[in-house]
Every structure is written in C-alpha cells, then in structure tokens.
C-alpha cells in the first residue's frame, strides 16, 4: 500500500542530511583561518558522507530515505605558512593553517541549500495534495 505520508519521512531525512552538510560547511568556514603550531594540531575540513537507507523487504521498496553515515576529515596536508613574527610560529618560523578550501566550501554550501529548498518544495506540494485528498467528495 503506497501512501503519501511516507514522502514526509523521505524528504525529512533529506532535510536533516542536508542540514548536517550545511553545518559542516559552516564549521569549516569558521575555522578556515585558525593557525596552529604543529601540522597535527591544525583543523581538518569535515565532510559528511550520505547513503540511502534501503527499505525492509516487502514494502515494495518505493521510498528510499537518505542518512548521514559519518563525517570524514579531509586527509589533505595542512598549509604551512612562513610567518616568523606569529606567536605560534615554530623554530623554522612556520605556522600551519587548516586544509579548508574556501571556494570549494562555498560551492558545497550553494549545492546543499538548493537541495534543501528542493525537498521543502516537495513537502509543500505533498501537503497540498494530501489536504485536497482529505476533501475528496465534500464539494
């Protein structure tokens, strides 16, 4: 039995996944300029990993919600910057900056917000259809 209410579960799961993505973009951007004394101590950019949740067999499998299976840290090397006057500089005069690529994060943010809007639109349309279905036979 198919039923429009499941769409709210599916789109809701997508909204929560996209908001995790937006959150990680926000924390990456916020920490983009945090200097560190050692390469290990530098902030590493975080990226969520999405996966679709497969229905239990027997449901007909028409809905596939999405979930965040984990948040991975980028393995790229932190940027070494020569700044001998910086209070955190090591003996060679280097400080270590996070491996956050701000341009990449901006593109990521736009993509996440578009997907979020898309799913909100789906939920709105579904709500209208359900309300009209409730009024079936009344006019």
């Amino acid at each position: 039995m198919s039923n429009l209410f499941k769409i709210f579960d599916v789109s809701g799961s997508a909204l929560s996944a996209q908001s995790v993505r937006l959150n990680s973009v926000a924390s990456n951007m916020a920490n983009a300029q945090v200097a560190s004394q050692t390469p290990e101590g530098a902030y590493r950019s975080k990226h969520p990993v999405f996966a679709s949740v497969l229905d239990a067999a027997g449901q007909g499998g028409s809905t596939t919600p999405v979930r965040v299976v984990g948040v991975l840290e980028s393995q790229a090397e932190p940027r070494a910057e020569f700044a001998p006057n910086h209070p955190l500089a090591d003996e060679q005069g280097y400080i270590y900056m996070p491996n956050v690529n701000v341009v990449e994060e901006m593109a990521n943010m736009i993509s996440a917000s578009r997907s979020y809007q898309n799913n909100v639109e789906v939920m709105n349309t579904t709500k209208q259809l359900l309300l009209r279905t409730l009024q079936l036979g009344q006019s």
């Binding site: 429009l4 599916v10 789109s11 028409s62 809905t63 996440a112 578009r114 009209r132």
Partner: protein, 131 residues
C-alpha cells in the same frame, strides 16, 4: 441492480494509487540527489495502471503454499532504473531538474484524478437524491 462503487469510480481510484506511488519514487529520487551510487528510479505509468486495474500485464499464480507473494503485482508495475543523461563521477544518476519537472507534472495529474473522482461522487450523490 446493485450499486458498485468500483464500477462507479472507474479507473480513477487505481490511477490515484499509481500516481501516489510515483510521487513517492520521485520524492525519493530528489531526497537522494546528493547520495553517491544512488540510481534514480521511476515507473512506467501505463504498465503500472493496467497492472493495478487488473487488466493486461503478466501476473504470477501461486501454485504452492511456500511460494512468495508477488509485491505490486509482478511485471509492469515495478520501479525501473532511469537511463542517465549526464552520469556523474560518484555513480549518482539523479537529474534534479528532470525529477522536479516530473514531480510537478505528476502532482498536477494527481489533482486531475482527484477532480475526476469528485465529479463521480457528485454524480452518485445526484443520482441518490433523485431531485
């Protein structure tokens, strides 16, 4: 003569069910627009409707007690995978614009089915009142 709701409502009740199933699939596609390796799915509306209204399509008979029941009525109504126009590197085949267009098209058709059903109910009511 007995009044049969199934006959009075015609194909529209089945159409509504298939439309809502398709809406679910399209919503799933859009929810997974950024999921790696997700393959977009859709149903062939004509096949699904003829399956749902019990005409055409190939059904499977259960000739033994341990046979599994066929979900959704066998060949025809089940979801198929979309052929991607622009496959992406992460194995995802969802085209958000295409899905959006299909979703709004399907929403309008769902409302059309609702209107047809409403008209049928109005007709029944008029017949019952006998004014």
């Amino acid at each position: 003569m007995s009044l049969s709701f199934d006959k009075a409502l015609g194909v529209h009740a089945d159409a509504l069910r298939v439309r809502s199933q398709r809406l679910e699939l399209l919503a799933s596609n859009m929810a997974n627009a950024d999921t790696p390796n997700y393959k977009a799915r859709d149903i062939d509306f004509r096949a699904a409707l003829s399956q749902a209204s019990g005409q055409g399509g190939v059904g499977l008979a259960r000739t033994h007690a341990t046979h599994l029941p066929v979900q959704g009525g066998g060949v025809g109504g089940e979801p198929l995978y979309r052929v991607p126009n622009q496959p992406s590197l992460d194995g995802n085949t969802v085209d958000p614009q295409l899905e959006q267009a299909a979703f709004s098209e399907n929403a309008v058709q769902y409302q059309a089915s609702l209107d047809f059903l409403n008209a049928r109910f109005r007709g029944l009511r008029t017949a019952l009142k006998g004014e």
